[in-house]
């Protein structure tokens, strides 16, 4: 079986760039295949594809080793494809020797990748780009003080590149309309939030209000039991009657393993009463309520109902819907939209397991990833108060649950019955809630954004005979000032203002009040090109330095994924920003600002390909500890680590190997590190000899290299080559024959993957990829350390083996275990830094990095090297580079 990464494929590259390539690169050589290749191919192929007989219209002898055009590259790609698919040489012809074929395929696919990249090289040209959905949402937030949810915004086009890549950020009619609709909705919400002062209010719910319901459901269960026993006795009495003895024996014989066979077949017994007479719908529901639940649910239910703490609060139950599997808390209807704080007084009982002391809270009906997960450190003696800031509108319902108990049907069931089978009751009551309250809208969150201040001076209901408010008199000026802000410092054209004014007047003439009328004009600004695009016009298509405002936008969309703030615009207006030292100072300020988290998270996510973590469901029954909230925390660890490097300006090398991790209590516990409590991520020193520290030791990275059930050494090896060693394997080729020879055999992972070495088509890449993956096999599919692995094949059997993590890089050094592998990877810091610099550049410039950027990349890496690769140095080097400061 062959497994592949998901990179852009050569075919598509050619498909999309041939037009550009024709102009760009007809003349110069962009890649060369090895000198030995043409003679080798000639020897094997020229009989049929030569001057005498161009089979299929294809001649191999005229194919130059030097690739200088998309056409030549495409012809070589055809050669690669037929070799990969095994189509050529024909089965009855002489075949290439396996080793030679693997080398040839490796060389050829590399040459084609190189040619593809060279032909796609924009020569440093950046394309004007539209804001991507994150940037659009952040920009609206800064302007209007409301945040549209990014997943409700128009989609960004491509995958496989950064979401800042201008070339891939398309726009269509639907999107233009969508932007307009979103802007209207956002402006209307702004009016609601900031249009009038809202006094703050509080609503509290005492959790023990749920107790009577729990008790009444217990009473129902007890009554069901009573009725069930009465019915059962009546059926059994009927069965004992002489006329039923034969039938009863027959029933017992036919259902040897069924509990209570008689009641399930009551209708075969003369004179037995129907369950309906005992107020049951049928025999099955009678059995479930009166027998199954009585045995399995009532002990836990009764323990809950009689616990003294439910007089003053409530516990979160697990799995039994009658016993508080969650707690609901409703925000009263009609409350204004705004920023609120949700407060809970909670405690964890002494009996609760430490890994269960987490509460998950989120709005009902919204996907789980939007829910907060908080550790509970308070005890029953000293409960704690948790505060969660929320953005909400009245009528919303929040749900509180225990982490890892509700993500799927099996989870809670497993937790409940594991405990039930051990103690005859159920899991210990773990999380206790005293009360829940919500307060707001918080005054601090009612501060209207500066852009709206002027507009808000116009009262909603005009006084009769009052003079027109000044903002209404000077509506043109108001619109102009708003547009200048929306356009990030750029003045709108008078003709555009005329149009906006015309819309406003049209609306007023139709009888609409001020705010409603102006909403249309504002929304129009927010769907116009100057707002949606980062435009940098160049006269006569020449390279030119950016002006202050353009630089301010490049900087803010790079480091904040949002618009420039007043300080940055001021620096742009005064021309200060054009000075390198001012730029450097702004970079420092911006990286210290919390908005830089947008950049760190989004960039890191895309740079390292973290989206892979969501490709698979992690099998709950095999990896119960890696529940969705733990997965989120492990993903967060990657971002938090990079953020820590950024905050403390530490060396990038720490991502290859470090003596610390950046974790919260959940991840610390996952890694077996003691003494960490709370939800905040912080730097924690590792004991000597720990496999953690650096990306390779992170649970999320290991999990990304799995399919949710088993590790994938291929994915892991390819990831290390791509992301850490700056040596990406060629993209997965289509049409390689799938290997099926070892079908149905019980093999170790190594044995299965050894097949990759048998076929040259596979070996050409997998000999480089697979060994690295083997070195990481001590991490299981969810990043726990292991020394054994096993493989189970239904119907065949199970095989268990000791993991052998040793291996050797292809044409490179050998390693005996993970630690040695990590040393080798860590020693390649310059390669890693080069990949990082390229990624940063591509993200910051919004274009792919090509060969024409090699010098620039080297300059950045060299500069960073002078400060031991401290991460901010890379950012400074990018920001000061000519590519960043000029439009080309």
């Amino acid at each position: 079986m062959v497994s592949f990464g998901r990179t852009t494929i050569i075919g598509l590259v050619f498909a999309t760039l041939a037009a550009t390539a024709a102009v760009a690169a007809e003349t110069s050589v962009v890649a060369t295949v090895k000198a030995t290749t043409p003679p080798l191919l000639a020897a094997h192929c020229a009989d049929c594809h030569g001057p005498d007989d161009a089979g299929g219209g294809f001649r191999i002898d005229t194919l130059p080793a030097a690739i200088d055009s998309a056409d030549t590259a495409d012809r070589w790609r055809k050669v690669l494809n037929v070799l990969n698919s095994g189509e050529m040489p024909p089965k009855d012809s002489e075949q290439l020797a396996p080793a030679a074929k693997a080398d040839l395929l490796e060389d050829l696919s590399q040459a084609i990748v190189v040619a593809g990249k060279a032909l796609a090289d924009t020569g440093g040209r950046t394309t004007m780009r539209r804001l991507n959905r994150r940037e659009y949402a952040n920009t609206l937030r800064e302007l209007l003080g409301v945040q549209p949810r990014p997943d409700g915004l128009p989609a960004d086009g491509g995958s496989g590149t950064f979401d800042t890549a201008g070339e891939k950020l398309f726009i269509s009619a639907d999107q233009i309309e969508q932007y307009h609709e979103i802007a209207v909705a956002a402006i209307q919400e702004s009016w609601r939030r900031y249009g009038a002062a809202h006094p703050s209010r509080t609503h509290r719910m005492e959790a023990e209000t749920s107790t009577p319901g729990v008790r009444s459901r217990l009473a129902t269960r007890l009554d069901e039991r009573r009725r069930f026993v009465l019915w059962k006795n009546a059926v059994e009495a009927a069965a004992r009657k002489p006329e039923n003895q034969a039938a009863a024996a027959e029933i017992r014989k036919a259902n040897p393993s069924q509990p209570e066979p008689l009641i399930h077949n009551w209708d075969k017994l003369q004179g037995a009463p129907s369950p309906k007479e005992f107020q049951f719908v049928d025999a099955i529901s009678a059995f479930e309520a009166g027998s199954r639940d009585w045995n399995m649910r009532v002990p836990n239910h009764a323990a809950y109902a009689s616990h003294p703490a439910v007089e003053t609060g409530a516990f979160l139950g697990v799995n039994d819907p009658y016993v508080n599997i969650h707690m609901l808390f409703g925000v009263p209807g009609g409350w204004p939209p705004g920023g609120y704080v949700l407060r809970l007084r909670v405690a964890a009982t002494e009996e609760s397991l430490p890994e269960r002391r987490f509460i998950v809270c989120g709005p009902r009906g919204v996907a789980g990833e939007h829910a907060e997960c908080r550790e509970i450190t308070g005890s029953m003696k000293e409960p704690q108060i948790i505060e969660i800031p929320v953005e909400t509108e009245g009528s919303q319902i929040f749900v509180f649950r225990e982490k890892g108990s509700y993500d799927n049907d099996n989870q809670g069931h497993r937790i409940f019955f594991d405990a039930f089978h051990a103690n005859g009751i159920g899991p210990p009551l773990g999380i206790w809630i005293d009360w829940v309250e919500i307060e707001g809208p918080l005054p601090a969150k009612q501060q209207a954004p500066a852009a709206l201040a002027e507009l808000l001076t116009v009262p909603v209901a005009p006084q009769p005979n009052a003079t027109k408010p000044s903002a209404e008199q000077d509506i043109r000026g108001v619109l102009e000032r708003f547009a200048t802000r929306a356009f990030r410092g750029r003045q709108p054209e008078p003709a555009f203002l005329d149009r906006l004014l015309a819309i406003y007047e049209q609306e007023r003439a139709a009888g609409r009040p001020f705010r409603e009328a102006v909403t249309e004009s504002l929304a129009t600004m927010l769907s116009s090109p100057h707002f949606l695009y980062l435009a940098e016009p160049t006269e006569s298509q020449k390279r030119r330095p950016l002006d202050g405002f353009e630089l301010a936008s490049r900087l803010s969309y790079f480091l904040w994924s949002g618009p420039p703030d007043d300080a940055l615009l001021e620096s742009a207006r005064s021309g200060e920003l054009l000075k390198p030292e001012e730029r450097a100072a702004q970079v420092e300020r911006m990286l210290d600002d919390p908005r830089s988290r947008e950049f760190v998270t989004a960039f890191t996510h895309q740079w390292l390909g973290v989206e892979r973590l969501d490709f698979y469901q992690f099998k709950d029954s095999v990896y119960p500890r890696y529940d969705p909230k733990t997965k989120d925390a492990s993903r967060q660890e990657i971002y938090e680590t990079v953020a820590m490097l950024m905050k403390e300006n530490l060396s990038l090398r720490n991502l290859l190997k470090s003596d610390f991790v950046v974790v919260n209590s959940m991840m610390a516990r996952y890694y077996g590190l003691d003494g960490v409590s709370g939800d905040g991520y912080r730097m924690v020193k590792l004991p000597a000899g720990s496999p953690r520290g650096g990306l390779l030791g992170m649970a999320a990275v290991a999990a990304m290299g799995s399919n949710g059930e088993q590790t994938s050494p291929v994915e892991r090896g390819a990831w290390v080559l791509r992301k850490l060693l700056h040596d990406p394997p060629p993209p997965a080729p289509p049409n390689v024959p799938q290997i099926t020879r070892l079908e149905g055999q019980l093999l170790t992972t190594r044995e299965r993957l050894r097949m990759h070495q048998e076929e040259p088509q596979c070996a050409s890449c997998h000999r480089t990829i697979d060994p690295i993956g083997f070195g990481l096999e001590n991490f299981d599919a969810v990043g726990m350390w292991r020394s054994k692995d096993s493989y189970q094949k239904p119907g065949v059997g199970t095989k268990e083996w000791e993991i052998d993590p040793s291996g050797a890089f292809h044409n490179g050094p050998a390693f005996k275990d993970f630690y040695a592998l990590r040393e080798i990877v860590a020693s390649r810091q310059t390669d890693f830094a080069t990949g990082f610099a390229e990624a940063l550049l591509a993200y910051a410039l919004g274009r792919p990095v090509g060969f024409s950027d090699d010098d620039l990349v080297k300059t950045i890496v060299d500069r960073a090297a002078t400060s031991d690769f401290s991460v901010r140095e890379f950012i400074h080097a990018v920001v000061q580079s000519p590519a960043f400061c000029t439009k080309q």
Binding site: L12, T127, R499, H530, Y533, P537, Q541, P734, N735, G744
Partner: protein, 421 residues
Amino acid sequence: MPMPSRRRVLQAATTLLALPSLESLGFRRFARAAVAARPKRMVCLGIGYGVTEETWFPKKDDVGAGYTLTEGLTPLARHRDSFTVVQGCTHAFAGDPHGGSTVWLTGAGPTKSLSMDQVVAGQLGGDTRFASLQLNGSEPGLDGAGHGPGLSLAWDRRGKPIAGFNSPVIAFHKLFSADDVPLAQRQQMLVKKRSVLDAVLEDAKSVQRGLSAADTDKLDEYFQGVRDIETRLAKEERWLGTAKPKTPLPQPGEGLVGRDEVLIMYDLIVAALQTDSTRVVTYRQPIQHLLKSLGIAVAAHDMSHYHPGDRMAASQKRDLAQSEMLATLLDKLKATKETDGSSLFDHTTVVFGSTIRSIHYLDNCPTLIAGGGAGITLGHHVVQPRNTPLCNVWLTLLKGTGVEIDAFGDSTGTVKELAVG
């Protein structure tokens, strides 16, 4: 200050694009003639990851009308005279072993091209409320896995992806939800929308000044978008007095996934055609969610790399489900009668397939064509020489649908075996 007309700006802005000529007399006359002859329709269903080679494709030497139906096609047995399976065809430029839909309808090579459905929409879309309808399986977070880049199966003439409706509920509302706003108010809305377009175009012009070639190309997308809205508004204006059709089916529930979603989307497709809301529909179907709804735990990508065992069983189960669902679509198309007594099926071409054959093979694309819309030979198994351009099939369908065209994508001709007589 005089305001130049929006149309003139558009003409100036982009020389590539001709203005809509939908209202021209000649077009209307043509459209009426088409209606009189019962309009033709096309439905394209993209499945992303291919099929199970061993059990879906008929044997290559078993061609013609009498071929043996394979296991994967068994659920379609009652329609065996109503569809044809074509083998041997490939898109030479397809290169993504994990994306079966990106170039499926375009065969896009070095020259970017319009997808087949959009070619048809250009011909048939003028007289319906929607020129074409794009539907997508809703699989949030999966980013088109198995289908490849794109926003639906459809691509516009500039090679840009066309967005689609991602849920049955959205599609239902677009098609059938009554507009209860009074006419005068809707006319006013149109005026307002036009003012908004005028304004954003004004801004676009000022952005355009001094842009580099590449940037101009980028901004052209915006102009194209505005132009499309303009076309839409013109259409909306024409349809202003016409109420949306009465819905032949109840509003779908929220949150339908996988199999349930596909079935309801099929109902919507029939309803859209039946009410002549559109004549061209594409549907990029859910993959992972379909598996989930069939009780298959194997991940879609893993399933695509099947080999005997769980994964192959999953792949086969998926094939069967797809064939069953397709069979119900054909049932409904046949059961829906036109005013002249013929059925929708008689005038509709249904195309089902992917550029991925199975596993990660991109040759011999699975291709199943049903319906009388293009007048092709039905009930046959047609095998073309290896690596025949799939665009030959598309060209055959386009010609059969009445598009006057001599080539499509990398086509080298039509498929003779598909032509009746």
